[in-house]
Symmetry: C2
Subunit: 443 residues, 2 copies
């Protein structure tokens, strides 16, 4: 990785829907410093120390020392209903990540150290073999340790201790940083006017691994030797249908007596009460027929297909930051309980593979992926980079610009058109193209 990663993004504003770009981006090299106290204060509460962007004990310059843990950071934020939350998240989310990494920094910089279950204590039974582990609270079914007739007699309960990897500490740090970011947005929304909400796609490069955290419908893929490796998945009303239906089934008051947690292929009409109609419940991925009753006349919690699918007839993305005040149009039903601010974090072990000059990580907001498939993006990027002078410092930036132009298309009589005369993206489009070969050097 080099600072070249800082100049490889490109973006266009949507086709006239709004004056300002609701996509925001951030790219930083950060250095986590040890906390000055040196000891862990057990009563410290994370949320009493919200970051304000002033850096806290973090530094953005190039000063290095063994007391520091550097990481690279790229992020895309796709705002909706205003750019306020996207702008705020682009300024602050990396500080939340750094704060969480700070707590586990001593562990991360010590290769081979098993994270202690309790900070400030010696690990218990660190080299315990699996056969000695046991569970002793109760007689348990299915013949495991502790059950009558099982091969292992119960052992003391504190002998069973799960091993946690360094990677999962970084994953946990990113996950909780998103939660803290969302909590800070909620707090400051009560004081300031911060508009809307946003999706967030972040990449952290730390100690040889790429961590890709995604909350929303942006997407990251790796292109390696021309092959596509997806490193994120999207969170939409369709992909999260069962989670949302399950929540609504368990907390029906969230539907405000206006919506039903069941899915139907279309709205039900009153004259259809009593007939057998197709439906899906939260337990089902298939469809079946049920007899329609009055409750089924309510609007479905999840409705529509593909890009038009909506939660509570309002929002087309189910994870992200902000949206705390968002309500269903003309009602008092809040959307936020159905939105998760928690990312899915995937880990790509960058330093374990040798990468060439054309191997890249592509981050894009949905404006890109709505009109170009993974394969089309891979072909466009590989084709473009292959035609560049390998020594050109700007080839990744130019490839990103080329990709954005391909997704936007050109203005013709019948609107913006891309290849094969398909419609171009009318959305904001933002792209990072990040070269992976700098990971080879283990820097």
């Amino acid at each position: 990785m080099s600072t070249e990663g800082r100049k490889v993004s490109s973006s266009v504003i949507n086709a006239g829907k709004s004056a300002l770009n609701e996509d925001q981006a951030c790219c930083q090299v950060l250095r986590v410093k040890r906390r000055s106290t040196g000891t862990h204060s057990p009563s410290r509460r994370r949320r009493s120390s919200l970051p304000n962007g002033d850096g806290l004990s973090l530094k953005d310059d190039t000063d290095t020392s063994s007391e520091e843990l550097p990481f690279h950071y790229w992020a895309l934020f796709d705002g909706h209903a205003g750019s306020g939350v996207a702008v705020m998240a682009s300024h602050l989310l990396h500080h939340h990540i750094a704060l969480h990494l700070q707590e586990v920094m001593d562990i991360l910089v010590t290769p081979g150290l098993v994270p202690p279950t309790c900070l400030g204590e010696e690990p218990v039974n660190q080299h315990l073999g699996p056969a000695q582990k046991g569970l002793s609270r109760a007689v348990s079914l299915r013949g495991a340790a502790g059950a009558p007739g099982s091969p292992h007699a119960p052992t003391a309960r504190f002998f069973s201790e799960k091993k946690v990897s360094h990677q999962s500490l970084v994953v946990g740090a990113i996950e909780n940083a998103f939660k803290d970011m969302d909590f800070q947005i909620e707090r400051e929304k009560s004081v300031y006017n911060i508009s809307g909400g946003c999706t967030a796609l972040v990449v952290v490069y730390l100690l040889g691994n790429l961590y890709v955290g995604n909350a929303g419908d942006s997407r990251a893929i790796i292109i390696r030797s021309g092959e596509v490796i997806p490193v994120s998945s999207e969170f939409t009303p369709e992909s999260e249908r069962q989670r949302l239906q399950f929540l609504a089934y368990m907390q029906p008051h969230l539907l405000g007596n206006e919506f039903t947690h069941l899915e139907f292929p279309r709205r039900i009409q009153r004259r259809e009460v009593g007939k057998r109609m197709l439906y899906r419940d939260f337990t089902m991925s298939g469809w079946a027929y049920k007899t329609i009753d009055d409750d089924d006349l309510k609007f479905p919690l999840i409705y529509g297909e593909g890009k038009k699918a909506r939660v509570l007839a309002t929002i087309g993305v189910t994870r992200g930051l902000g949206d705390h005040h968002l309500k269903v149009h003309d009602s008092n039903i809040f959307i936020k309980p159905f939105l998760s601010c928690c990312p899915e974090v995937q880990v790509y072990p960058l330093s374990q593979t040798e990468h060439g000059a054309d191997d890249v990580l592509v981050l894009g907001t949905d404006g890109l992926w709505d009109v170009l498939s993974n394969q089309e993006v891979a072909e466009a990027v590989s084709g473009f980079l292959g035609n560049c002078d390998p020594d050109d410092q700007h080839r990744y930036t130019m490839a990103a610009q080329d990709l954005v132009m391909k997704a936007r298309g050109v203005l013709k009589d019948r609107g913006w058109r891309i290849s094969d005369d398909r419609l171009g993206s009318g959305d904001d489009i933002s792209v990072y193209i990040i070269p992976l070969m700098y990971g080879n050097k283990q820097n």
Copy 2:
């Protein structure tokens, strides 16, 4: 498929833990007949007509007519805390599946017919193009149809109609059959003494497709040209941790003030209150540190690792049938709310691929997979079948017996041992090996 599928299973009882085999199996060729009424009664309630195994309008013989829809059925049930529920499910689950298929039979036997949203009505807008679809309830975010500035003006709400495939009707039929089976078990448990619970792994071969439904920790794999294709996933405290924690977080009364929905690597001791310890919440796949409070001294909802992981310190499998009366040892906390009776159904398009004589579907209870990997099973089965006379009618049965013996091992000084002197399975072991080449004939 032929009746050869009926003679390809093998099973052994666990190493002395119980006198009776808690594994049960079922293998049938069933024929769904049209309902005699010919019309769909909208007020009919499924649960007023529970199957009793007498066949209803189903037939198990070989009489055929165009009024019938035949399907092949294999199932494995791994019982725990008694064999009662496993025996009952092995006798009745296929009748529930047949009942649900009966309702959609007219659709399934008509290739190309889009399932009508409402039974007994003409499909609405059957050939509607995607560009005409719209959503009109409310102003929606993210620029879809109906939002200001979107390219498509809102259209009448009933024009938006999701297309449902024939396959998803079969998936829905299997899913709801499991639910009805579990409801029948609950009802009859209130009258009869039906012991325990069971996992269920079923395969339905219908109209060229294999449907593999799994609720529990059994497993199905396809071996094709020696390669492994997994066609099921397991449901255990570890694989379903986040669903279970989410449920407990939303309905904390289910934990009876004795358990916490948070996961810790080990039990917390009272003297550790106030310290920072590793934990995972339902939103996290990574780990982080939190300050321990009194609530964290409760026993974790999910506890233990691998085969020893338990829900509520009691059960090591999180989907299946029965267990309605199961409680945490020495408490009034019910386990059932955390167990799902709903299978995950995967579809394998059997007739779209040509299969050879050594291409098979392997079904096994966890007694098999605990000691042999997918790859080891594939090598054992392919090796065995390759050494058989291709005309031997019993080669699949013998391969199943061979596989069970490999997983059980032989009795040595230090217990049952398999290859490399590893411990054999102390559990019940049941295996089906089902040849796939009969799917080539489209019968």
